[in-house]
């Protein structure tokens, strides 16, 4: 007679990814490089926001961009056009980036020459939310034409991010997008979420985003005991 035994596991399914993400975070803290994981649906403005940020802040901080979008060649070219190093991850159609992909991309970058890395994740509100990339912070962009009900359909991503950027507010007029309903839906999932509203096209509200990122990078660098370790 065959006896079936029970083994208690109680381990995260994505334990290995989380382990590697933790290692990346520790390494970037040691090196004093702030990394932001930027997520959204396709077309909500990740590339526009990144390009805008590079134009405004490239003389203040040293940036690099990790491009994960499925069709990222165009995006990477635009970033390089700004004089910023970009690493393109060929996801081969994968729906998200994970920690091992980011670890490989980081090897392509000179970390000693960087202050901030922005990850442009794959355009998708479902899968990227589940995978820790090792970034210090996570931000999600929601554009007005997508509707104020996205937190109801994709609650996970809105519950794990630190910042929500509402983009394309120049489309608010005449739309039925309700910013107050959005705020209520987001805050009940995530009371600590910062919410910024802007338009990459008109520039309205962009200064709030620039200030948020500047404060984040500055606080990150100050927060490191004894300052960042730079190996040069």
């Amino acid at each position: 007679m065959v006896e079936i035994r029970l083994i208690e596991v109680r381990e995260e399914i994505l334990a290995e990814n989380q382990q590697e993400a933790g290692d990346i975070r520790a390494e970037l803290r040691r090196r004093g490089v702030y990394m932001l994981n930027l997520m959204s649906s396709p077309g909500s403005g990740k590339t526009s926001l990144i390009l805008r940020t590079l134009r405004e802040l490239k003389n203040t901080f040293r940036f690099a961009v990790i491009e994960g979008d499925i069709d990222a060649v165009v995006d990477a070219e635009k970033v390089v056009g700004e004089g910023i190093p970009a690493v393109q991850i060929r996801t081969g159609g994968a729906c998200h980036l994970d920690a091992p992909m980011i670890a490989a991309a980081l090897k392509e970058l000179d970390l000693a020459a960087l202050d901030c890395i922005i990850i442009e994740n794959v355009g998708n509100l479902v899968c990227p939310a589940e995978f820790d990339t090792g970034a210090e912070r996570k931000a999600v962009i929601l554009s007005v034409p997508e509707g104020d009900d996205k937190p109801l359909k994709y609650p996970l991503i809105f519950s794990v991010c630190d910042l929500l950027v509402v983009n394309k507010i120049d489309y608010l007029e005449g739309s039925d997008f309700n910013p107050e309903a959005l705020k209520e839906r987001v805050l009940r999932l995530n009371p600590g979420m910062r919410i910024l509203a802007l338009s990459c096209r008109t520039g309205e509200g962009v200064s709030d985003w620039i200030r948020w990122l500047t404060d984040e990078i500055s606080a990150f660098r100050k927060g490191m005991a004894g300052g960042p370790v730079k190996d040069r």
Binding site: V2, E3, I4, R5, L6, I7, E8, V9, R10, E11, E12, I13, L14, A15, E16, N17, A94, C95, H96, D98, N124, V126, C127, E130, F131, D149, L152, K153, Y154, P155, L156, S159, V160, E184, L187, R188, L189, N190, P191
Partner: protein, 116 residues
């Protein structure tokens, strides 16, 4: 959509624990997944069947237990289950305060495995 990557990781966790426990075959895998997480049960089983071929976990049945999304009231501290996808306002089941926040429902755990 991300079930394949999740299942690859799941199989590694299962095999590691099964080997450590001296198992010769894995019969079932019990998962606990929070209601807020998106995971299509059927695809996890299909991918698992495919990926586990030739391993001691081949043929194992995946059982998924969903744990409800729980909210906590900021006014009175009461915890209660609620649907995070509702269009209605979520109010505390005790004091009706609207000041509620999600506290659990994102679980992504391998609970136990049954082995021979």
């Amino acid at each position: 959509m991300h079930e394949l990557a999740v299942t690859e990781s799941l199989l590694q966790v299962v095999l590691r624990h099964a080997r450590a426990g001296g198992a010769s075959k894995v019969v079932s895998v019990g998962l606990r997944i929070g209601e807020v997480s998106d995971l299509v049960d059927e695809w996890v089983q299909r991918y698992f069947d495919h990926l586990s071929r030739g391993t001691i976990a081949e043929g194992a049945v995946i059982r998924i237990e969903r744990s409800p999304a729980m909210f906590r009231c900021g006014a009175c501290g009461h915890s209660f289950p609620a649907d995070p996808r509702t269009r209605e306002e979520i109010r505390c089941a005790l004091c009706a305060s609207e000041e509620t926040a999600l506290v659990s429902g994102r679980e992504y755990l391998v609970q136990q495995i049954e082995v021979i």
